[in-house]
Amino acid sequence: MNGRRDLVAEFRSGNVRGLARAITLVEQRDPSARRLLTALGGELRRPRVVGFTGAPGTGKSTLVDALVALLRRRDRTVAVIAVDPNSPYSGGAILGDRIRMQGHALDPGVYIRSMGARGHLGGLSVATREAVRLLGAFGFQHVILETVGVGQSELEVAAIADSTAVVLTPGSGDGVQMIKAGIMEIADVFVVNKADLPGAQRTVQEVRNLLSLGPKLEWRPPIVTTVAATGEGVEELLEAFERHREHLERSGEGRRRAEARLKDEAADLVAEWARAEARRLLDEDRELAARLLRDRVPYAAADEILTRRLTPGAVDRSSPPAGRGEEARPERS
């Protein structure tokens, strides 16, 4: 519990606990995380980020494990963020992805972090983006994101990854379902895992057919077949990620995505700050709250909050938002 003040030192010391705490603070949107990210400044190099999404049980964690093993054989350091859904009833979760990754449990070149998808102020993507940045600053060369493709989280995570793999299995009808659910658009690579089971080639053919119905794209997502449990096909998968990366660089799409990511991130941070400020004003200013309740519609109150917080010189004796310091005060401009 003493770690707050020397968070930066602890992080820089290379102690895994410093990293782990920093990620928790980022998840909790704690102001000290912002101070850490600011202090790390130029150290925030971006690692290579790939994402895996797909229905539960398709073998994502097993695939991640195999990819980690391959990258380690090539002397690359790897961090994994595995996102699982929380119980809608209790908010709790059983995060079990580590079970498949036990072979790397004591390897200092591997860091594994399990996350519940819910309970992130400002959304999962804000926390995950900053976690990725911390992992890069800590020295990890690769980050692998795993999410269950049943809700919103895979879309948020796909927006962060350089390349996203959608994982399907033979005979489950996943292929068609996923594609119907709009997962198609986020796939840079398709993986047909469990290729040791019957029907794998049919699933490949299904995906190929569906792809051919779509628009002609510059990047045609390759379909890789794997047996995650044995590592079969994982080299080809890494190869597919590499080719996608080259495509991103060659076509300029990578730069476009990076710019879009930064804009998203800036907008998300403003939204996060604005929401917290609006809530604070509504809690603290009784008259404002009373006017809102009297109006029964939020528009006038929202306008007033915006005006009060954005107009230079507007009188607001309340404190600046925690952790933003002086630079957030409009009167300096």
């Binding site: 519990m1 606990r17 209790s90 449990a105 809530r279």
Partner: protein, 147 residues
């Protein structure tokens, strides 16, 4: 101070240490803790003390729950406590479950194990114990009757 930040749930690494090979019991505990609102990181079977502590550090867990039925409790629990000391992480709370005689329980508690639950303990007792140990701000304390 009014806070609208969602409180991140307490994170608990649940592990099965030792060589015995079934995990039905620990999975039941995992579900009970999830249903009580905790985030349970389940790491699977045959964990060594080093693996358990490393997982807790990487996951930034506040609590480690150990399940063991192999009779090796007087070596495995102290090994976890020792490893936590070595990693300067003694603030992580360790509890456990297993077939453990009373005199060993007393000894383990002296060594730094926070609580031991023997087979047949109602799951709610574990939840109540956690709630007392880690009270949520504003949440009513559970009745002490169940301890």
């Amino acid at each position: 101070m009014a806070s609208h930040a969602p409180v991140k749930p307490l994170r608990i690494v649940l592990a099965k240490v030792g060589l015995d090979g079934h995990d039905r019991g620990v999975k039941v505990v995992a579900r009970a803790l999830r249903d009580a609102g905790y985030e349970v990181i389940y790491t699977g079977l045959r964990q060594t003390p080093e693996m358990v502590v490393e997982a807790a550090l990487q996951e930034d867990a506040q609590v480690i729950g150990l399940s063991l039925h192999s009779g090796a409790h007087m070596t495995l629990f102290p090994a976890v406590i020792e490893e936590l000391k070595r990693r300067e992480a003694e603030d992580i709370v360790v509890f456990g479950g297993g077939i453990i005689p009373d005199e060993d329980i007393a000894e383990l508690k002296r060594m730094g194990v926070a609580e031991i639950f023997t087979p047949g303990t109602p799951l709610q007792d574990i939840v109540d114990w956690l709630r007392r140990r880690f009270p949520e701000p504003g949440a009513p304390a559970p009745s002490a009757a169940s301890s």
